[in-house]
Amino acid sequence: MTTLAQAQDTTTGIPSAKLGMWLFLASEVMFFTGLIGAYIVLRAGMSSWPHLGEELSIPAAAINTFLLLTSSMTMAMGVAAVHRADVKKLRLFLALTILLGSAFLGVKGWEYSVKFAHGHFPGTAIFWDCYFMLTGFHGLHVLGGVIANLWILRLTLGQDFSERRGHLVEISGLYWHFVDLVWIFLFPLLYLI
């Protein structure tokens, strides 16, 4: 197979895989723009909206924000480690990122279970439709990032990881920071404002 994805033979010098991830993220931005835009329009169209602090747990969301921001930091440290070809540190930071991402999903799952216990499901009111839709799609994206990082963690066990597959860490990192960024928008929009 022709190895087009390698950096040295591209016109711009940017590796195609990295460019591809940036393009994918552009489409992801538009996807969440559609969802968040729908939320804003629907909310603006309602004469009353539930008082958010009573319905949703702001402390849980704040903890989740902290978890996700920290995971972005560990991800960035992982990218720095792969640039130094330090596979041991890379494994540590990847594992931490996976752990923090999973903790985020755990807290989210706990929040969901509390809502379900109170009889709040998608389809019970437009507020809950929006809440589950936005946090659900964001959660699926976090899950995707956790799985991608798990896959890379497994690859680090192979030979010469930094030289042969090191670029994957950077690409996965781009995606992870994007998922983090979406949450930075969702947290105030859903919980605070």
Partner: protein, 569 residues
């Protein structure tokens, strides 16, 4: 290197797979249109043999209104999602991009293969609706809620439809990422942006539109699917009563769907026309033996159409009840689209001016494209102006307009492209005499079907109407409708000529050689069909794409790979 022909990662094989499947889907979509024309020409008359095909939709061979609704919905959906877009973007984008920029393949060959194989999955999902209780989707290709939004108003076919369109969206996005990455990153040495053929500029712009617009459609489709399957109310307002019972939905907005849907679907109109404009810009210089007039103007006009294309979506919604002030701003943005479009048409005419014109089949289709597209574009200006739109909205004028753009424009452009690159794809020429007969029959019958639609629309005949003869004011339109139906059947029959020519030439066509049209761009510097990897050695580009009849040159065409004569820069 084993070359698996079916699950191939070679961009040329994938391009041809897209080509063949989209032509088959177009045949299917065309047959649905013939059934519609039967009902419009002879309302309520029986087609006894259709009873076996659709016992529920056409009992005794007489079409039911619900079946008619399903026909126009599936005709539009199949033609747009599985016909025109995969043909113009999937087939030509895949086939031409690496060849025209001098790359051995796409940036992501396996992603490319996935992008193709999602198409049959998506089509199977949408078409499964035909087997569902209540038949396939029937809420129009635009699927406006609340009609499309609940199980009570629209059966399972609509759910299959939305799910299939989401899958197709993934295919489009993967394709777009691939096209952009390939064009940005895998151009041959010397192939600067300003040396790229216009078809590549067009496909590049198209890919950007696809990348940024399709995810919004995916978001809308997912919300629609949730409304239907989970019981959410994103598009469903309070107080809906269906068959006498009140629905529990509340808080949603049907208009929100229209905004999200058209945010994709208006750029999609340009996704379906820009590539055709690109092909025509490649074909005209070749058959006029002249450089393309205004190369940069055409290239930037494509980008401008793409950019403005994101700002005009609500001109589909002038009569929807949205704020009239919005209508005015969208009207102005719509008129602005005419400027880059006019630049293109002017430049094409400038290319033809005093050219050495050769009327081979691809050139005929290209000229057909320009003339038909101008009618489509001008009627678009009628519809884009709010006061006129008030009168013409949802009439046959709209149907005429969109068919002049999508058949007169996109399809003539596609025919031009197929007949032009067929020798490269298959190594043999299509029969030119048959091709010209096919063009003239298509051209005449197309106009006989579609042009009267403008008159019907101005007479007040609504679109998507099952039996207009029930309205006294429209009953006198039977004769003209019957004439249009006969022309439509002839139009469909003429396509058999094309199918025959396509298949016959695969085996019996005249061997094409490397460069049958004496054209200048890179794909003509390699064998027909090109080998795996495309070029024996990476081509080096020394000049622009349209150097025809250069004064002092030995031939009237100078390939992009030819080095400049010594002593000059």
């Amino acid at each position: 290197m084993s070359r698996n022909k079916i699950f191939s990662t070679d961009h040329k094989t994938i391009g041809i797979q897209f080509l063949v499947s989209s032509l088959i889907f177009m045949g299917l979509g065309g047959l649905l249109a013939m059934l519609m024309r039967w009902q419009l020409g002879w309302p309520g008359s029986a087609l006894p043999w259709m009873e076996r095909m659709a016992p529920q939709g056409m009992p005794g061979g007489i079409m039911l209104p619900e079946y008619y609704n399903m026909l126009f919905t599936m005709h539009g959906s199949i033609m747009i999602f599985f016909g025109v877009i995969p043909l113009l973007v999937g087939a030509f984008g895949n086939y031409l991009i690496p060849l025209k920029i001098g790359a051995p393949d796409m940036a992501f060959p396996r992603l490319n293969m996935l992008s193709f194989w999602l198409l049959p999955v998506s089509a199977a999902t949408v078409l499964t609706g035909f087997l569902a209780e209540g038949g396939a989707a029937a809420a129009g290709w635009t699927a406006y809620p609340p009609l499309s939004g609940t199980q009570a108003t629209m059966g399972a076919g609509q759910t299959f439809w939305a799910a299939g369109v989401i899958v197709l969206g993934f295919s489009s996005i993967l394709g777009a990422i691939n096209y952009i990455a390939t064009i940005v990153n895998h151009r041959a040495p010397g192939m600067t942006f300003h040396r790229m053929p216009i078809s590549i500029w067009a496909l590049f712009t198209t890919a950007i539109l696809t990348l940024l617009a399709t995810p919004v459609l995916a978001a809308a489709m997912i919300l629609l699917l949730l409304d239907r399957a989970v019981g959410t109310s994103f598009f469903l307002p309070a107080g809906m009563i269906v068959d006498g019972s009140a629905l529990a939905h509340a808080g949603g907005q049907p208009l929100l769907w229209q905004h999200l849907f058209w945010f994709y679907s208006h750029p999609a109109v340009y996704i379906m026309i820009l590539p055709a404009m690109g092909f025509v810009s490649d074909i005209l210089p070749t058959f006029a033996r002249k450089p393309l007039f205004g190369y940069k103007a055409i290239a930037y006009a494509a980008v401008a159409i793409g950019a403005v294309g994101f700002l005009v979506w609500a001109h589909h919604m002038f009569q929807s009840g949205m704020n009239p002030a919005l209508g005015t701003s969208f009207m102005i943005a719509t008129m602005v689209v005419a400027v880059p479009t006019g630049v293109k048409v002017f430049s094409w005419l400038g290319t033809l001016w005093r050219g050495d014109i050769r009327l081979a089949t691809p050139m005929l289709h290209a000229l057909g494209f320009i003339s038909m597209f101008v009618i489509g574009g001008l009627t678009g200006i009628f519809l884009g102006s709010t006061p006129v739109n008030m009168y013409l909205h949802d009439t046959y004028f709209v149907v005429g307009h969109l068919h002049y753009v999508l058949f007169g424009g996109s399809l003539f452009g596609a025919f031009a492209g197929i007949t032009f690159w067929y020798p490269k794809m298959f190594g043999r020429q299509m029969n030119d005499r048959l091709g010209r007969i096919h063009f003239w029959l298509t051209f005449v019958f197309f106009n006989s079907v579609m042009f009267p639609m403008f008159a019907l629309g101005m007479s007040g005949m609504p679109r998507r109407i099952y039996d207009y003869t029930q309205y006294p004011a429209l009953a006198h339109l039977t004769d003209i409708n019957r004439l249009m139906s006969i022309a439509a059947f002839c139009l469909a029959a003429s396509q058999i000529l094309f199918a025959f020519n396509f298949l016959w030439s695969l085996a019996k066509g005249k061997p094409a050689g490397q460069n049958p049209w004496q054209a200048t761009t890179l794909e003509w510097t390699t064998s027909s069909p090109p080998p795996h990897g495309n070029f024996a050695q990476t081509p080096v580009v020394h000049r622009g794409p349209y150097e025809y009849s250069v004064p002092g040159a030995a031939r009237d065409w100078t390939p992009q790979t030819e080095e400049p004569p010594r002593g000059q820069g």
